[in-house]
């Protein structure tokens, strides 16, 4: 509970919004796989893994931004670079696991959801403008 209390309300709101977009787009992706006749359990597991990792990546980035904003400029810059490298490493490991276990995860179904948070962020900026 104490960890949740430390999270900025704006980050909670943004993460909820991104989670909603990721879930919606993942369901859409599963539906597209079903329509083109390529759906099986590996696509389902891959979609779940990809969506979870995409959301975790966004949340970790948001937490780094929150922590960085309380630091000095130079430290903030360094913290963001380190966080970016670590998160990229996490994504590479997840994609490698998905590629090495084709009987459990469909690689395309893991990789595609990683792009959903940026789609959500672009959609958010469009909605805010309108």
């Amino acid at each position: 509970m104490s960890f949740l209390n430390k999270i900025d309300p704006s980050i909670k709101r943004d993460t909820r919004y991104i989670a909603m977009v990721v879930v919606l787009l993942t369901v859409l992706m599963e539906a597209v796989f079903l329509i083109i006749g390529k759906w099986d359990m590996t696509v389902l597991f891959g979609g779940l893994l990809g969506a979870a990792v995409a959301l975790l990546n966004f949340f970790l980035m948001a937490m780094t931004v929150q922590n960085s904003l309380a630091k000095e400029e130079k430290d903030a810059k360094g913290a963001m670079k380190v966080s970016h490298s670590m998160r990229m490493l996490m994504l590479v490991v997840v994609c490698a696991v998905a590629a090495l276990l084709p009987q459990a995860f469909n690689l395309a179904a893991v990789v595609i959801p990683l792009l959903f948070p940026s789609i959500g962020a672009r959609l958010h900026s469009v909605l805010m403008k309108s």
Binding site: D8, S10, A62, S68, L69, E73, A76, L91, L114
Partner: protein, 95 residues
């Protein structure tokens, strides 16, 4: 044949490394600059922290897209491209 396969695998690995290395520089540096400037903005106007944080998070998510594109290309170069290229080579020489 083995030399050709070795060259294909080596080039794919090299391409993936270059792709990931160069592709990840941009978002990392960009996010760092953006957050540093956001720190400065919050220092000037502390009451705008919530709005700046929200904008920053969404901006960073967009900035990271290019890094994820390069990751996808690197993964394809490592795990998908070698198989396709080796099969194409085998078909071309009739093995």
């Amino acid at each position: 044949m083995e030399i050709a396969i070795g060259i294909i695998l080596g080039c794919c690995a090299l391409g993936a490394g270059i792709c990931m290395g160069i592709g990840a520089i941009g978002p990392g540096v960009g996010e760092g600059h953006a957050v540093a400037n956001a720190c400065e903005a919050i220092g000037r106007q502390p009451e705008s922290k919530s709005a700046v944080t929200s904008t920053m998070v969404m901006g960073c998510a967009i900035a990271e897209t290019t890094g994820i594109y390069s990751l996808v290309i690197a993964i394809l170069l490592i795990f998908v491209a070698p198989g396709i290229m080796v099969n194409t080579l085998k078909n071309a020489i009739g093995l």
